[in-house]
Each structure stands twice: as structure tokens, then as C-alpha cells.
């Protein structure tokens, strides 16, 4: 990805969502993308996931420029190379668990028997073989997200884009999901994880920190360890108001591992949300 920028709106209402991003992702990496709300993480994931197009810059997927791909070619690339895991699960409520998992195979033109067989095997892999014919509403949050991961994996994608997959989950379920992603990563799949939770960087091999549409920090990490320079990055964030200052200190204290990590995440979100509004560049 070279000098990728994304602009929304036009005229005075133009917003710069991504600002000349340069990013190379190697096969088999587990990248945790962090940053405050509005920093451009999701936009970056959407562009990487071929759901969106950059306004400027070059994006090469598997050494091929995707700029000139037609919508149907982009759809096929999404189908074959990329698996999405969303914060809100995004399972189809009127389909059973197994049908949801098998859905990407429908667009490959696979027969019903074959795709249900593959989906069944995938559910077995994630330990939900006894929930195959449940409806999504009958599952817990963690189980639902596991199903979403199974769906993302069904086409054997090279990249899994997980946009805050644990955002709606309790700590136990989060752990299960992260372990699952870790297993997938261990099998060689590239994972891009968007998260607000610094704890989750333990699973990553690289942490990318974004702010105001730009990558402000990019460092490799060791598996099982939190990114070493993460804290300094957070401390280095500009604090714009006195109110933010007070809220920020409180949030950062709670964000330190070992001091109630879960509420800390929410506080951080709140604080970052406020900062974003004040610091976002308007073109």
C-alpha cells in the first residue's frame, strides 16, 4: 500500500480519512491495528478488504494492483482471498448457523451438499458442531462471533480482517475468540485485527498505531507480549482540553494492564472519541 489516501465528501465538507498511508503486510503476519475512534482504522480495513477504493495511492494485493479491478472482480477477490469478522457479527438472522458459515460458498457455485459438508467440518474445527442448526439468535455472543470466524475461514482466505471482533464480548468470550484467531494465524493465515484493547496486542506479531488517518507508529512485537512502545505512544497523544486531560489521565491509568482492563478499554474509547473530534483534519 503506497501513499494511500481516502477522502470523503467534497468542497468544504471534505474529510481526510486516510492520509498517505504506506503499509506493507507480509503473508502470515498478525497485525493489531490500534488507534482512537475516527483515526481511520476501519477505512483502512475496508480498503484492504476491497470494500472501498482509495482516493489516491496504490494498493497491491498479492502483487497485483487492485485499482482497475471491476466490481465483480473485486467481489471475487473478496470471496477468495479475504475473510471478514465484524464487531456486530453480521450473521444473517434468517439462516441457520451452518447456512451462515456456508454462505460464501454459495457465491462460488458449490452444491448444497458439498458446502454444508465443508461448513459442518469448519464448525467442528471451532467446536460448535452441536450448534449447526441453531439460529444465530440462539447463540451467545462468543459463539456467534466464532460462527462469524468460521464463515470468514470457509473459503480458506489469505487474509482475515477482524474489525473489533471482541468489542461486544465479555473477557472470557474475548479470550476464546482471540485464541481462535491465534490458531488460525498459526496455520499461516494473515490476520489484521482492529482493536482498542492493548491486551490483545499479545496475540499480534506487529502493532500499527493510527491517529488522524495516518500511521503514527508501526512496530513488531513478540507473541504473548504487549507492544513495548505502546504506552509511550499513548502518552504521546495530544490532549486538547483540560477536560480531556483529566479524563485522559483517568483512562490511561485504567488502561495499564492489571488494573481492570475491560472498563479501561471503554474509557479509552470515550476519551479518544472526544480527541478525534478536536484533532481531525478538515480539508
Amino acid at each position: 500500500m503506497h501513499d494511500v489516501s481516502k477522502l470523503y465528501g467534497f468542497g468544504d465538507a471534505t474529510t481526510l480519512a486516510l492520509d498517505e498511508i504506506n503499509l506493507s503486510v507480509m503473508e502470515g503476519e498478525f497485525i493489531a491495528v490500534m488507534g482512537p475512534s475516527g483515526s481511520g482504522k476501519s477505512t483502512l480495513m475496508n480498503i484492504i478488504g476491497l470494500l472501498d477504493r482509495p482516493t489516491f495511492g496504490t494498493y497491491m494485493l498479492s502483487n497485483r494492483s487492485v485499482a482497475k479491478l471491476r466490481p465483480n472482480q473485486r467481489a471475487r477477490n473478496r470471496r477468495d482471498k479475504i475473510g471478514f469478522v465484524f464487531q456486530s457479527y453480521n450473521l444473517l438472522p434468517n439462516l441457520t448457523v451452518i447456512e451462515n458459515v456456508a454462505l460464501p460458498l454459495v457465491y462460488k457455485g458449490m452444491s448444497t451438499v458439498r458446502r454444508l459438508k465443508l461448513a459442518g467440518a469448519m464448525l467442528e474445527r471451532i467446536g460448535l458442531e452441536d450448534r449447526q442448526y441453531f439460529m444465530p439468535r440462539q447463540l451467545s455472543g462468543g459463539q456467534t462471533q466464532s460462527v462469524a470466524i468460521a464463515r470468514a475461514l470457509i473459503n480458506n482466505p489469505t487474509i482475515i480482517i477482524a474489525d473489533e471482533p471482541t468489542g461486544n464480548l465479555d473477557s472470557d468470550s474475548s479470550l476464546v475468540i482471540m485464541e481462535l484467531l491465534s490458531e488460525i494465524h498459526a496455520m499461516g493465515t494473515t490476520i489484521l485485527l482492529v482493536t482498542h484493547n492493548s491486551e490483545l496486542t499479545r496475540y499480534a506479531t506487529r502493532v500499527v498505531f493510527m491517529s488522524d488517518g495516518a500511521i503514527v507508529h508501526d512496530e513488531p512485537t513478540k507473541l504473548g507480549e504487549i507492544a513495548p512502545n505502546f504506552r509511550s505512544i499513548i502518552y504521546g497523544l495530544a490532549i486538547k482540553t483540560e477536560e480531556d486531560d483529566l479524563a485522559g489521565v483517568s483512562a490511561l491509568m485504567k488502561a495499564i494492564p492489571g488494573i481492570k482492563s475491560q472498563p479501561a478499554k471503554r474509557k479509552n474509547k470515550a476519551k479518544w472519541g472526544k480527541s478525534k473530534k478536536l484533532t481531525r483534519k478538515q480539508l
Partner: protein, 412 residues
């Protein structure tokens, strides 16, 4: 694509079944349209079939002469319309002299006068006001190709002026549960003895002939005595000597009567084939009319489907986003929503056909109509439903496919 369509069809059927009331209301226009078309076509086919059956029964060599100009011809000369009521009130347009004129026409075997005499009938100490009494000669039995269930027909040779022959329905009505033979009925202060009861006539709907199952035949000579106007004729039935000469005899009768009426065309001569053509014409008019109504109904139904599908596309925006994120192409999204529209429409068509079949069954039970339901009509109706689904489903489907995946995923 085949597998995808099968999958989409399954999902669409599931969607229709899940929201069955909404789907039913959506289909209503298609149901009404298809039901009306299938019913009217079936009715038309049934009536045609019945008329052909009646012609076969009465004999296709029967020529009918009616007072008044009852027929309208197209520019090419083909019979386009028969006004069966024209001339019925013109009591003096046809009389016994015309019967004689016809009888003298070469090729005519027999000409039978038919005269309706008004008045109440008394039988079994009860009075009946609505049973038509027809004065006719004994040749009526041969002219109508009909035999008696029991008894005998009055004969001119018998010189029995106060005898009557009953249609089967009348016999059952006047003398329920007993044989009418030998009983008397009182008409215009004359006691008529029932000589015989006719077998059941197969009278087709839209036939211009009276339903002879519901009439009483009395000798024409007696009718002349009862009627102060000399029993004017509402119809003369003619049988040619040879069936093959029916058309030529018809022309001769036409010419002879025209001469007898001093060139005034105040009568009509037609054969059973003309009757079939006239019935066809009426049915075609009816079919056109119902077809127009059905077309409007299908249009409204189609718009209903389009409306519901547009709402569905909006409601399911996030689903569209998810499907696109999972790799669905625009074409596959179009296919999915188009399939749904076609399934709804086809469901409507199938329900319409079932409704039509039930209407047909009801008509068969309640009336003497015998509507039919052919597989060609069923196929056509199903095809029309599919086409309606495609025409009105394409816009919502394209709208769904054009949704931006990001916007669609964010839609709440």
C-alpha cells in the same frame, strides 16, 4: 448460476413463507389477475364445448328462423353478432304463412312453428306463472333430435288438441316424485293431458335456443285458438332433407322469406354453425373485457410486488452489505432479489390458478356451466406470473445490487 438460482429460490420460498400475510397481500393483484383470466378462458372453453355438444345433439343441420334482424355481419360478411332478443317483442313479424313458405322451399324436410303463449299454469292444485308454454307441431321432436323419456308426442293425426308434452324439469316440478303421464294441467281454462315427458336436453349456456327442459309443448293449433293474435311465432325450426344442403337451404329460405316479406329484412335465418360463431364472438368480447381487467390487475399486482421488493431492499440493506462483503457479485445480488420477486409472483399465479379451479368447481355445482381448466392455460398463467415477476422485480433487484457495500454494512 444454476445452483445459485436453486439456492435463491429456496431462500425466497422461505422468505415468502415466513412473512405469509405480507406476501399474500403482495400477491393479491397477481392472484386476481390470473384467477380472472384462467376462469374466463376456462369458462369460454367450457361454453364452446357445450355449444358444440348441443349442436351435435340438435343436429348441425338445424336451421332457425327468428323475427327481426337479429344478426350483425362484419364487413367480410361473417356473422359477428346475434341479438337473440331482437324481434321477440315483434309478435307479428313471423306467422304460419312463413312456415308454409319455408315448407315449400326446395330441400326443406320440415318446418316447425314455435309460439310462446303467456299465462299461468295450474297443476296439482298449484299455480305456476313462470313456465313457458310453446305451441308447436308434432314435428318438433324430430326437429330437435330429441326422444321422449316416456309417453308419446301428440300427433297431428291424433286430433288431440288438449294434450301436452313436458320438458323434464317441468315434469319434475309439477309432478314431483310421480309420473306426469296422464295427469292434467290447466292452461287458459283448457285441461291438457300430459301425453309424454321429453328426455333431458343438453342446452348450452349462451345458446340462443330456449331451455326446452323447462317448457311445456302444446299443439300449435290449440295455441292458435288460445292466443287472440293467432299465436305469432318467436321462432321457426327447419330441417333440410339432407345435412349437406343446410347452407344452400338456408340461402333459399332467406330469399323466399325476403320475397314473402316484400323485400323487408325483418327476420333472420341462421344455422347452428352461425350460433357457434355468435357464441364465439360473445365469448371473445367477454375474454377481451376480462383480459383488460386482468391486465390492469396484473399491472397493479406487479407494482405491488415492485413496491414490496423496494421496501425489502431497504429493509435488508445490511444483509446486502454482508453478502457483498462475503463475495457476492452485483449479478448474484440481482439474481437473488429477482428470484424473490419471481417466486412471489409465481406463488400468486399458482394461487390464482387454484382460486380459478375452485370458482370453476363452484360454477359446475351451482350452474349448468361446465368450465374447463386445460394444462395449456395453466402453463400460460404460470408463464405470465413469471414474466410479471421479472418485469416488476428487476428494478428493486438492480437497486439492491448497486448498493455500496460500506454504506450497506453500516445501515441500521
Amino acid at each position: 448460476m444454476k445452483l445459485l438460482t436453486a439456492n435463491n429460490t429456496k431462500m425466497a420460498i422461505h422468505a415468502v413463507q415466513q412473512s405469509h400475510w405480507r406476501s399474500l397481500l403482495t400477491m393479491l393483484g397477481v392472484i386476481i389477475g390470473i384467477a380472472s383470466v384462467v376462469t374466463i378462458v376456462g369458462l369460454g372453453e367450457g361454453i364452446k364445448h357445450q355449444i358444440v355438444g348441443q349442436i351435435n345433439n340438435l343436429g348441425n343441420n338445424l336451421i332457425t328462423v327468428r323475427p327481426g334482424s337479429t344478426q350483425t355481419n362484419t364487413t367480410t360478411g361473417a356473422l359477428s353478432f346475434l341479438n337473440v332478443f331482437a324481434g321477440l317483442n315483434d309478435s307479428d313479424l313471423l306467422n304460419i304463412h312463413d312456415v308454409q313458405t319455408i315448407q315449400q322451399t326446395p330441400g326443406v324436410r320440415t318446418a316447425v312453428p314455435m309460439s310462446i303463449i303467456a299465462g299461468p299454469i295450474q297443476a296439482n292444485k298449484q299455480i305456476y306463472d313462470t313456465i313457458p308454454v310453446i305451441g308447436s307441431t308434432s314435428d318438433i321432436s324430430a326437429a330437435l333430435n330429441q326422444t321422449l323419456q316416456y309417453g308419446a308426442f301428440y300427433s297431428s293425426n291424433d286430433n288431440i288438441s288438449d294434450s301436452a308434452v313436458l320438458g323434464q324439469n317441468v315434469a319434475n316440478e309439477l309432478f314431483p316424485g310421480i309420473s306426469a303421464l296422464g295427469h292434467s294441467i290447466k292452461f287458459h281454462n283448457i285441461n291438457f293431458v300430459v301425453l309424454g315427458v321429453l328426455n333431458q336436453f343438453d342446452i348450452a349456456p349462451l345458446s340462443i335456443d330456449a331451455d326446452f327442459n323447462n317448457v311445456i309443448f302444446i299443439p300449435y293449433s290449440t295455441a292458435q285458438q288460445i292466443d287472440p293474435n293467432g299465436a305469432s311465432l318467436y321462432e321457426i325450426l327447419v330441417k333440410p332433407t339432407s345435412p349437406s344442403s343446410t347452407n344452400s337451404v338456408k340461402t333459399k329460405i332467406q330469399n323466399n322469406l325476403l320475397a314473402a316479406h316484400h323485400g323487408e329484412q325483418n327476420f333472420s335465418v341462421f344455422t347452428q354453425t352461425d350460433e357457434l360463431a355468435a357464441a364465439n364472438h360473445i365469448l371473445n368480447l367477454l375474454t377481451d373485457l376480462i383480459g383488460a381487467i386482468a391486465a390492469i390487475s396484473l399491472l397493479v399486482g406487479g407494482i405491488g410486488i415492485m413496491n414490496v421488493m423496494l421496501v425489502a431492499v431497504t429493509e435488508r440493506t445490511q444483509e446486502i452489505g454482508i453478502r457483498k462483503a462475503l463475495g457476492a457479485t452485483n449479478r448474484q445480488i440481482v439474481n437473488q432479489f429477482l428470484t424473490e420477486a419471481v417466486v412471489i409472483s409465481t406463488y400468486g399465479g399458482v394461487i390464482g390458478i387454484i382460486v380459478s379451479a375452485l370458482i370453476n368447481l363452484g360454477l359446475r355445482i351451482v350452474t349448468n356451466l361446465q368450465p374447463t381448466l386445460s394444462w395449456q392455460v395453466i402453463l400460460l398463467a404460470t408463464g405470465v406470473s413469471v414474466v410479471v415477476g421479472i418485469i416488476f422485480g428487476i428494478t428493486p433487484a438492480v437497486k439492491a445490487a448497486r448498493k455500496d457495500p460500506i454504506d450497506a454494512l453500516r445501515y441500521q
